[in-house]
């Protein structure tokens, strides 16, 4: 057993930290969500810089423009990007679409779609959830009718992060309404500039435009944009879900919140002028220690997922545990932050007296979606119990 990273991994972390120190503006206001779109110019410029270094798709094999980097290096990248709240990563193109095309894509699809992702020039979005298909995703109803050389798409997708910034969408649509629900779905690549696509914003309770609802009115998708076999799209998409993250983002974001609050507690200590007594009370310190401990557990859970991947295993149970635990802990850390900040915690960045540039309140508002997005905590617990512990379905 050895909990250390290798010297090469540590060297990469150092290089990455230097890069972040150089490139990130000091007045960064985002919370570092991978789907953040507030300062889009900054996101794009960071993405190009990551791409120039090969880091954007570092986990891809060399033949597809990646660096063939180990899962551990990817983990370090995600850990530091999240901790530093750095924009620029590409969840949908680099982490989901790319690896999926490498398995299921035709040679033409790979040649056409992979290089722009590796260069950081294209934004993808994920057309999965529908108003009537959330946790029960396989009941989705968006139709894709086979018209010979194209599919005719009608329906609607919801909670589509970054659809308003996206060039392309990975779309799950029903091509066979008579087949059992998992078997009638196909996986299509849809050009967001196609005629009949309409994107309507959904403003989240964080006050940000991240989600959208997308409507399809007789949208034509050429046959060559079908990934994998027709009717097998559910299985293509499920593979892709397995490429989703280790959960390190939750742990790293939580750690950053705690470090910020800890610094704040020191800054407002009576010895330093601005005396805010609540920040120096025993309950606040106890709360912080409890959060630090649980955040360490979250970090180790994420490491475990990645380490198992690096051993060639498929950590289904571990990934679900890391997701539930990490997202719930992040909520608790943000809530602990607000508790310690008191009235100052509810101020926004428009207020002159806001502490820590208002990032904690924003992180708290965002954290509410963490236990819902990418598989609710309840669905994840079902997975842990059934696929992880072998408990029979009811």
């Amino acid at each position: 057993m050895d909990f250390r990273f290798s010297p090469a991994e540590e060297a990469f972390r150092e290089e990455l930290l230097e890069f972040l120190a150089r490139e990130l503006p000091p007045d960064l206001r985002g919370v570092g969500r991978a789907t953040e779109s507030g300062d889009w110019e900054l996101t794009l410029s960071m993405r190009r810089k990551l791409a120039q270094r090969g880091w954007l798709t570092m986990h891809w094999p060399k033949e597809y423009g990646g660096m063939g980097a180990s899962p551990m290096l990817s983990l370090i990248l995600n850990e530091e990007m999240s901790y530093h709240r750095a924009p620029g990563r590409d969840v949908f193109g680099a982490r989901m679409l790319g690896p999926t095309l490498m398995i299921y894509g035709t040679r033409e699809q790979k040649e056409r779609f992979l290089p722009p992702v590796a260069r950081g020039e294209v934004q993808w979005c994920q057309g999965y959830s529908e108003p009537e298909a959330g946790s029960d995703l396989a009941s989705l109803r968006t139709r894709a009718e086979d018209k010979g050389d194209y599919f005719l798409v009608n329906g609607s997708k919801i909670w589509t992060s970054l659809a308003h910034r996206a060039d392309w969408m990975m779309l799950m649509a029903r091509t066979d309404p008579d087949a059992p629900k998992h078997r009638g779905i196909s996986f299509l690549l849809l050009d967001m500039k196609s005629r009949g696509v309409e994107v309507r914003p959904i403003i989240s309770m964080a006050g940000e435009h991240e989600f959208n609802q997308v409507f399809f009115d007789n949208v034509e998708v050429p046959k060559e944009n079908l990934v994998g076999e027709k009717g097998r799209g559910w299985y293509v998409a499920v593979t892709l879900l397995d490429f989703e993250r280790s959960g390190i983002d939750y742990a790293a974001s939580a750690k950053r919140i705690l470090d910020d609050i800890n610094q704040y507690m020191d800054d407002v200590h009576g010895d330093h002028g601005t005396d805010i007594p609540r920040a120096d009370e025993g309950w606040a310190r106890d709360l912080m220690v409890e959060r630090y401990v649980e955040t360490e557990v979250a970090r180790l859970m994420a490491y475990k997922v990645t380490w198992l991947q690096s051993q060639g295993q498929v950590p289904t149970k571990e990934a679900s545990m890391s997701k539930v635990f990490g997202s719930e802990n992040l909520q608790k850390c943000a809530a602990a932050g607000l508790k310690i900040l008191g009235h100052y915690g509810v101020l926004t960045d428009e207020d002159k007296w806001v502490p820590l540039r208002g990032i904690i309140e924003k992180a708290w508002r965002y954290s509410i979606s963490g236990t819902i997005a990418a598989g609710t905590s309840e669905i994840q617990r079902n997975i842990i119990a059934s696929r992880g512990l072998g408990m029979p379905r009811g």
Binding site: M1, D2, F3, R4, F5, S6, M72, N262, M265, D266, R285, D286, M288, V289, E290, Y292, V293, E294, E296, V297, L300, M301, Y303, K304, W307, L308, S310, K317, E318, M321, V324, F325, E378, Q380, R381, N382, I384, A385, S386, G388, L389, G390, M391, P392, R393, G394
Partner: protein
């Protein structure tokens, strides 16, 4: 990074599992609660024969040259089987403290005997205040000629009335303790239980653990009973507590895994409303929560044990692990009871053995409050 037990440790675990299942099943664990000694001399002999007692000692002291992770592999299995034995006190606490801080003579005298199963040790540091911190230390050893005279009372001492030696912390400075800045004031004595003036009174716990209160009444302690240097014993106590906290965390992780498996097995067999209750989502989510807590116990405990194996005592990872395992293991037991219904509340069902012991393991080498205070001080740079 390597998060798995190595091959040797896996073999050790699998042989430990079969040895303990055969020699010390849970029925024996229950029987031992009423036993005068509280452990089985036959099991102890088997442990010695299997090389467990000297596992982490160098070969020249009759050991196998293993490290703390090797020991942790065993502790996890003992935690899993609730093995009643003075192993933890003798090896993890006493033996490793002697190995780390003892004189050559002490090591040569004590360690081979431990390895052969001929000698027991334990730590006697807590007093009536029930706080490990040095400011609560009142036992005193006054200088007397070439030696000392020891007076005081130690509480909650594990295996107190089977042990051969107590590791006793006591004040040895006239000016009051200052164990940090000037390395002054506290010494650790190796006191034989047979020394005149030593009196052991058993505590009665609900867990079947053998805790005792030990009184030292004018015990004449010779200078060569001191472990390490005079007045510099506090570091030894703290490091011993660190090893104890890391080892106890691993033991608790073993128990936690057993409780999870026991509950899972029960829910798959128990039928209500015409189907196994394991099919009910309410219970599935309890089990998912238990599985996450078990995963947390393992990760944190292994990391702590790895720190100790690296020689990195004083790491806050150790306090984090003990704090987490204390709370998580108790949560796991509580949910296990909820899942078992009335059956888990009976004396004859094994679950209660774990639940009762979890409470004593929680107290050993620092409860959550103690470690929270330690971590809080580290956090604010105190």
């Amino acid at each position: 990074m390597d998060l798995a037990w190595n091959e040797t440790q896996q073999m050790l675990k699998s042989s430990a599992r079969s040895l303990l299942a055969k020699e010390c099943p849970l029925s024996m664990v229950l029987a031992m609660e009423k036993d005068e000694k509280g452990y089985s001399p036959q099991v102890w002999r088997r442990m010695a024969e299997a090389g467990w007692l000297g596992l982490a000692f160098p070969e020249k002291y009759g050991g196998a040259g293993g490290n703390f992770l090797d020991l942790a592999a065993l502790l996890e299995e003992m935690g899993r089987m609730l093995t009643p034995s003075p192993f933890f006190s003798t090896v993890v606490v006493g033996g490793l403290a002697v190995l780390a801080s003892g004189s050559e003579a002490q090591k040569a005298e004590l360690l081979p005997k431990i390895a052969q199963g001929q000698l027991f040790m334990t730590l006697a540091t807590l007093e009536s205040t029930d706080d490990y911190w040095y400011t609560y230390l009142n036992s005193r050893a006054n200088r007397d000629g070439n030696g000392f005279v020891l007076n005081g009372a130690k509480y909650f001492v594990p295996d107190a009335y089977v042990t051969d030696y107590f590791l006793v912390s006591a004040l040895t400075s006239d000016t009051g303790p200052d164990p940090w800045e000037k390395n002054r004031g506290i010494s650790v004595f190796l006191v034989p239980r047979s020394a005149p003036g030593v009196k052991v009174t058993p505590h009665h716990t609900f867990s079947g653990d053998r805790l005792g209160r030990v009184e030292f009444d004018g015990v004449k302690a010779s200078r060569d009973w001191i472990l390490g240097e005079v007045d510099r014993g506090w570091k030894i106590v703290m490091e011993t507590l660190d090893r104890g906290a890391a080892g106890k965390s691993v033991e608790m992780a073993g128990g936690a895994q057993a409780v999870l498996e026991m509950t899972l097995d029960y829910l798959k067999r128990r039928v209500q409303f015409g189907r196994p209750v394991a099919t009910f989502q309410a219970l599935q989510h309890h089990l998912a929560n238990m599985a996450m807590d078990v995963e947390g116990c393992q990760s944190m405990a292994y990391q702590a044990a790895w720190r100790v194996a690296q020689g990195e005592l004083w790491s806050s990872d150790i306090s984090m692990a003990k704090m987490w395992c204390n709370e998580a293991y108790n949560r796991i037991c509580a949910l296990a009871h909820q899942c078992h219904g009335g059956m888990g509340f009976t004396w004859e069902y094994d679950l209660q053995l774990y639940t009762r012991r979890a409470k004593v393991q929680e107290q050993a080498f620092g409860d959550a409050a103690y470690h929270r205070t330690m971590l809080s001080q580290a956090l604010s740079g105190l």
